[in-house]
Symmetry: C2
Subunit: 240 residues, 2 copies
């Protein structure tokens, strides 16, 4: 880092953020305002123009995509003899909301998030993962793709993701969904539309309702599997 | 381009592909085998290991993600005062299967695709768009992210995408779905589960069936809107 940057960082009013970021990221940011934005949850954001807030949601959109590409590249090279179905499945486990929340906590991002707690009873569970995605968006804009890629590989995947676990673990969407519903205090119901035991072809047809609205739908010979599939459908639709 | 590369390209047995690619892409590829792979449809692929083919599907997985990130970056910068909902919607229109098929045709990629026509009655409609995505995957691996980004911006977005049209046009998912079903010769049916006109709360509940299987589901006060939503659901599930 050039001396003038060190001096600027030292005397900057954002010195604390600078130092925290250096500790977490391993580098000093150039454009600190991007990182401040990355940690600003919409509850703490102000309107900058009609209908537009200075929250981290736009950076989250960008960062989410950058992570997806870096992980795609990583998996492409790590598994040269696996087909795209395998790669897709692995990626969706590596970039899941739950995984991003975990990573954010491990990095300690939760201490940097600016949110207005009065606006929600309990913090939405995704607030940390969203900040992680936004942070990657900020790094990408501040330092470029290659830098963001190295950060994700060296400081996230190699350190915080157990690839053997990712490869072997099947995602239990029903548990994931129920955990979300309980946290968000939502009423839900697995509604049997067709009972597989009473019809000749034995397919169970299920709807999953949240507060009376259908958010998931599935059919399968096994009721248990149909519940998993309906939950997976709901998790996708509700971005859980 | 260094002289030795030009000479290699000139005497290479893949000279025709080299020249075609130079014309289409505006540059000579370094690793020609990546581009050959990008144009090899699974119908023309051989098994390279048990269950793994040397088709373009893995490159397609990678390229699809790279395009998504480049477009996210482009939209982020082009629309500084639009929220992430707008950005997401714009991107999904810019990277749709239909749009990628169009781009592939405009680039003339269809002439480079290696496919075994005996294996399917009529060519799947997505074969060209898939090759475009795989080509971007190849460029990314061959030349890096920045190069792929410049290619997408200068040779695709600025030339082949009418941003005003993308911004104003609503996607008609029902037409899109029906077009696909007719092309693929699938039987389909919009099945009314609840007729909104006969119940107090007036919600229509619809299933969209393809060859007897539910692929889309929706409910809405308007039957027309419910059909659009069920079609959108089906398009997502079937990756149309």
């Amino acid at each position: 880092m050039p001396v003038h940057k060190k001096i600027r960082a030292y005397f900057s009013p954002e010195k604390k953020l600078h130092t925290s970021l250096k500790n977490i990221l391993g580098f000093y940011p150039d454009n600190i305002s991007l990182y401040k934005l990355a940690f600003r949850h919409s509850s703490a954001a102000k309107n900058i123009k009609k209908g537009v807030k200075d929250s981290n949601e736009r950076l989250e959109f960008l960062g989410d995509s950058v992570i997806g590409t870096v992980v795609a590249d990583y998996l492409f090279k790590k598994f040269p003899y696996k087909d795209e179905g395998f790669l897709t499945k692995m990626r969706s486990k590596m970039v899941s909301r739950a995984k991003h929340n975990q990573i954010a906590m491990k990095l300690g991002l939760n201490q940097l998030i600016e949110a207005n707690n009065d606006r929600f009873g309990s913090k939405p569970s995704s607030i940390n993962g969203d900040a992680y995605e936004a942070l990657i968006g900020a790094i990408y804009l501040d330092k470029g793709y290659k830098f963001a890629q190295k950060f994700i590989l060296n400081r996230i995947i190699n350190v915080h993701i157990d690839m053997d676990e990712v490869e072997t673990k099947e995602v239990d969407f029903k548990s994931k969904f129920i955990e979300w519903a309980q946290k968000e205090k939502k009423e839900f119901e697995y509604e049997t539309v067709v009972d597989g035991t009473t019809v000749p072809d034995k397919q169970f047809v299920l709807n999953l309702l949240v507060d009376g609205e259908i958010v998931g739908h599935a059919q399968h010979l096994s009721k248990k599997r149909a519940e998993q599939l309906a939950s997976e459908d709901a998790c996708k639709k509700l971005d859980i």
